[in-house]
């Protein structure tokens, strides 16, 4: 029930005239018809040794103050020292210096508040409304990083809530994000397997499952490309998804090819989206030599 987009600029300082944030805004604007309810972005910026960027949904007013206080308690209990903090929209963003066990910190934070993302490079921004609405509140266009993902959602659950928006962070694993179009039908089976091994889930959303599945493989030292390959066998259902890590971006598509995906690659960049109309938004008036990934295929791009 949605549209997805991803972009990676392969070279740094290549004099391009758009930011990663702006490129994703444009691509999502092009396919907003696929999902008018909420919009989200996973953006990768510069990293600093020992720094972690954390984002939370905290709401507003008293509710926000309480959530922030709980977050700070967990941070200090885990000796994470705050370097920078701000509240934007309904988000609380904090940068900390931290060198302990990330998964433990993440699970504790999750019990204290609604975590959106944790990473040395990754920040997820998502909320109800269109790409332009979300940009207006969170200034997505100012993100200049090298790559990122985007998602527009048509909500079929009871409410259009910001926390139900995509992308999803691989709960407990830094810097891994996913956007997914489709439906995983062996969700509970896969989730139970992962839970038995001690992983926690933040939502009941099948996209989060894909993120945790891939993150688990990566943490075992398996290459992203190989993890994508096994995902096509291990996941049942319909899916076209994009995944990103600190320095990679990749896709996987199910064998039924029920969910569309089109890509466009040049020496400088790779862009993938649900529909060509999103890619054309980056190159107005041009006839692009795009390709449609074949059913049952996967691929990654490295910076």
């Amino acid at each position: 029930m949605c549209g997805i987009a991803g972009i990676m600029f392969k070279k740094t300082g290549d004099g391009r005239n758009t930011s990663t944030g702006q490129a994703l805004i444009d691509m999502l604007d092009g396919c907003q018809h696929r999902g008018p309810d909420s919009t989200g972005f996973a953006l990768y910026g510069d990293t600093h040794q020992g720094h972690l960027k954390l984002r939370f949904f905290v709401g507003s007013g008293d509710e926000a103050d309480k959530a922030i206080a709980r977050i700070k308690d967990v941070l200090s209990a885990n000796s994470a020292s705050i370097d920078d903090e701000e509240t934007i929209g309904n988000n609380y963003r904090v940068v900390v210096t931290f060198s302990g066990d990330l998964q433990k910190l993440a699970y504790e934070l999750e019990h204290a508040a609604k975590v959106i993302s944790i990473g040395s490079s990754l920040e997820i921004i998502k909320d109800v409304g269109t790409a332009h609405d979300v940009d207006h509140t969170y200034h997505v266009q100012n993100f200049t990083g090298t790559h990122g993902l985007g998602h527009v959602r048509l909500a079929t659950e009871s409410d259009v809530k910001p926390e139900a928006a995509h992308p999803f962070w691989a709960t407990g694993f830094a810097d891994i994000a996913i956007v997914h179009n489709g439906q995983i039908t062996n969700y509970w089976k896969m989730r139970r397997r992962l839970e038995q091994r001690g992983f926690e889930f933040n939502t009941d959303n099948d996209s989060e499952l894909i993120a945790v599945y891939l993150a688990d493989k990566l943490s075992q030292g398996i290459a992203l490309e190989d993890a994508l390959k096994t995902s096509i066998d291990d996941l049942d259902g319909t899916f076209s998804f994009l995944v990103s890590t600190k320095d990679e971006i990749g896709y996987a598509k199910d064998r039924l090819a029920v969910k569309p995906m089109v890509m466009y690659e040049t020496d400088d960049m790779i862009a993938i989206a649900s529909e060509e109309v999103s890619l054309n938004k980056l190159f107005p008036g041009k006839a692009l030599n795009t390709t449609e990934p074949a059913p049952g295929t996967y691929r990654t791009w490295h910076r």
């Binding site: 696929r34 009871s158 569309p260 060509e276 054309n280 008036g285």
Partner: protein, 652 residues
Amino acid sequence: MAQIDLSRISVREGNELIRKYGEAGENVEVLNPDARHHIGVGLTAPITVKVRGSAGYFCAGLTDGARFEIDNNVGWGLGDNIYKGTVVVGGNAGAIAGVAIRGAEIIVKGNMGSRSGQVMKAGTLLCCGNANFMAGYMMYGGRIIILGDSGERVGEDMSAGDIYVAGKVQSLGSDAQLIDLPGEELDDILAFLDKHKIPFNGTFQKVANAGTKLRYGTAEPQMRSLPFFSFSGKSDYWNSKVQEDIHIKSQIGRYRIRGYGGARPLPHMTDLAFRKPIRPDLADAEIAKKVNLYTEIGGIHGAQPLKLSMPVMVAPMSYGALSASTKRAIGLASTLSGIAENTGEGGMSDAQRNAAKQLIFQCLGGRLGWNIHDMKRADGLEIYISQGAKPGLGGQLMAKKVTPQLAKIRGIPSGIDLRSPSRHPDILGADDLVIKVEEFREATGYKLPVSVKLGAGRVRDDIKIATKDGFDFVELDGMQGSTGAGAAEVLEYVGIPTLAAIIEAIEALEEIHARDKIQLVLMGGLRDGIDAVKAMCLGADAVAFGTATIVAGGCIACMQCHIGQCVTGIATQDPEHEKRYKPDIESRNIHRFFESVRWQMAAITNALGYDDVRKLSRDDLVALTPEAAAITGLPYEPEHRDETDAIAIKAS
């Protein structure tokens, strides 16, 4: 040549201009298409449209007679349902290129995506590159020429038509086979390539239907006509119904098919009563004039609504399941009573169009009989997703009913056991559905209401999706709903009851604060005006009658609609049987039934103390059984039972 620049105007404005240029006979060049959807849909003039770049979904869809040239790529559903004309694509085409075409020549210079030519009926689809999997899936006719490789499972479940592959045949689909290529067919193909200046030398392998799945092995024997009470299995444990069922299965060795609605007792409108004592016997004959029943359906988003003299419609029933005379009688009756009729599956005949003043045109997955011209002369367009009798399954029309005349309007080979696809080629999720609804609106200039028919399954999700996808109204059908032919197991055991469906639908809309964004037409086992008023109390905006309509018009409820030998001439395509049906007489009978519904609705509404059906609310109802109370949340007040029985008697 006129120019249209899509960087300056919307596709909607662009399409209006294209149609205008079409009327004036002027060719059009579309600049900056940038892969936008729906370019050119609904064009029915013989002009040339050049698209300077890539086009999105449904480019050239629902057109007749035009020539489209697209310089670069196209998205899903190229040339959807084209009648005649030519489409040339310079680059690649996405999935389902040439879906449901009924003629036309489509040339894709690059590769084409999966399921190309799905449910196509006639015409030629040429792919100069490679095809992806399941080219020719469920095709009924026409030809697909692939100069590259075939893709996996080529010809999957094709009923007829030809597929020619010059490259590798990667694998054959179910019920497809390789056969020798007749010399004259090769000449035909080479002439076609020549005409379109496609250089080629080589030859082809031919893929055709293998004929193993077109007919069931053994036909189902005709049953004895069991009276409904014993058919519904209410008598002893090994009752005659159970025995007959076992006998027939012992002959055919598979699931059984039958017509009519479910026979299992389920919680229903009869388990509800009005909170106030109703005495319709006191109502005067003029009562219908004192209560406002007039209802508009479908105008919520600005389309021209259906104007109903009372909140009642005829349920969609196909020409195919029903005879042409029956469709005519129902159409006439709907006009006499000032309500709306619905084509159901299988197309719109002139007779139907002329008989019914307000006619909804239904579009199903097989696109049987679907076309732009009838869309334009309809009063509403409806996308069938499923129906209450068999949610998730497609229609079944046994060979006996697939006569040459019927096959022609549907665009299929005659004499096959037709199993309509259960899914739409181009609706695989809510996101695609948005694009499909938009295509219909574009093609008909945003004038017609667009509705969706939903069998009650996951009502909560489905209703929300229907609302978000911008439908004007939903025809919601509970599991008591009838069918012309369905697998017996599914009829009785799949879905959720009409009562539960309307409750869930209303709750779903309240959850997303959208009660005013879509209208609900409820059906499925509704028998009269009393049921109708209860449905309105529970929140329906209107109701529809299927079975009651045909029973009013002479159906004897033998439950054998699927056999094709209907003794009343209703559910048959056999001219000998059909002769018995007298549409002019039956239309009067059906009309009188509708008028009794009007009288009941007015009398009960009046007795409840209102002058307008829209004032009815759930506070007017109580539940007579614990189950009905649990489903509806209404107070359980069994003591109202006697009064209900009294109304039923008096009203009958």
